[in-house]
C-alpha cells in the first residue's frame, strides 16, 4: 500500500497547525509540561518530554503516540499524599490534543493511507510546537533566575 500526501493536503494540515487555537493549545501544554516535568538535572530538557517528542517523530502509527502517553500514565501510581504523578497530571490533555489531530486528518481526506500519513505529519508538527513552548518556558525560568 503506498499512499502519498499531495501538496494540497500538506498545506491544509500545516494551516490547521498554524491556527490560533492550535498555537494557543500547544503553548499552554508546553508550559504545563515544563511546570509539571521541569528540567532534568543540569538543566537539560526532561527525558520524559524528549521521549514524547522522539515517539511522535519516529512513530509509524499514530496509535503508538497515544499508547506511549497512556502507557506512561498507566505506569504511574499516586504518591503517599495521593497526588498524581506528572503523566497523570498532563496525559489527558495530551490525549485530547491528539484526538483533535486524528479528527482533523479524518476531515481532510477519506483515504485511509493518506489519513495515516496526515496523522503522523500533524503529530510531528504538533510536538514541535509543544516542545518549542516547553523550551520557551524553560528559558524564561532560567532568565528569571539569572536576573534574581
Amino acid at each position: 500500500m503506498s499512499a502519498v500526501l499531495t501538496p494540497e493536503l500538506l498545506q491544509a494540515a500545516d494551516s490547521f497547525l498554524d491556527t490560533n487555537e492550535q498555537h494557543e493549545a500547544a503553548k499552554q501544554l508546553g508550559r504545563r509540561l515544563f511546570e509539571t516535568f521541569g528540567a532534568d538535572k543540569e538543566g537539560r530538557v526532561s527525558t520524559q518530554v524528549r521521549n514524547l517528542q522522539q515517539m511522535a517523530v519516529s512513530a509509524t502509527r499514530f496509535a503508538d503516540v497515544e499508547d506511549f502517553v497512556k502507557n506512561q500514565m498507566g505506569k504511574e501510581k499516586l504518591d503517599k499524599q495521593k497526588k498524581p504523578g506528572p503523566w497523570r497530571q498532563t496525559g489527558d490533555n495530551i490525549l485530547e490534543q491528539l484526538k483533535k489531530l486524528r479528527a482533523q486528518a479524518n476531515q481532510l481526506t477519506s483515504d485511509e493511507g493518506q489519513r495515516l500519513l496526515l496523522r503522523l505529519h500533524l503529530a510531528r508538527g504538533w510536538v514541535r510546537a509543544v516542545v518549542g513552548a516547553y523550551l520557551y518556558a524553560k528559558a524564561q525560568k532560567e532568565m528569571e533566575q539569572s536576573h534574581a
Binding site: 500500500m1 503506498s2 499512499a3 509509524t60 502509527r61 499514530f62 496509535a63 499508547d67 497512556k70 502507557n71 500514565m73 498507566g74 505506569k75 504511574e76 501510581k77 499516586l78 503517599k80 495521593k82 497523570r88 485511509e112 493511507g113 489519513r115 495515516l116 500519513l117 496523522r119
Partner: protein, 183 residues
Amino acid sequence: MLEIDIAADTELGEQAIKAAGKFVRKHAAPSYQREDDWPISRSQITGLRQIAMNEPARVGEFAEHQRRKAEAKLENTTNEKRRQELEAEIAFWELVRGLCEGKPPKFSWSLTQARDQALPAELHDEKQPPGAQLTKEQQAARKEKREGRERWQRQWERDHYAAFFQRFCIHYLYEMSKRTKGE
C-alpha cells in the same frame, strides 16, 4: 506504509479500546481502591501482551487456561468479595478468548473473524463435491494452496495479535490507573 499500520491505527485499535473499556466499566467495582484489588493484575496483563507478541496462536489457549484456574478457585471460595473478584477474572479471560476466536452472535467481532475476512481470494479453499476424485496435480496444487493459506494466516496473526493486544493491554492499565486511588 503497511496495512497493519493502518489497521492498528483504526479498526483494530478501536476494537481493542472498546473491549478493554467495556470490561472495565462493567467489572471495575468502586471498591477497587488499590491496584492489588483489581482482579487482573498488572503482571497478568504484561504476560498476556507478551504471549500475543511472541506466540499469537496460543493466546486463546492461554486465556482458557487462566479461566479454568480462576474457575477452580471460585469453586472453593465462600467469601463473597473474593467470589466477585474471581467472577470478574473469569469474565476477563472469557473476553480475551472471545476476542481471539469468538463467533457471532456472542462476538460480532473477533480476530479470527477479521483474519478470515481479510484472507485474499486466491487463498480461499475451494470446496470439492462429495466423492470428487482429484488428480495428483490437483492434489498437489491444493496442498500448496493450503500451505500458502497457513503461512498467510500465521503472518497475519503475528502482526495483528501483537498490535491488538498492545492497545488492549495499555488501555486496560490506563483505565486501571485512572480508577486507582492509592498504592
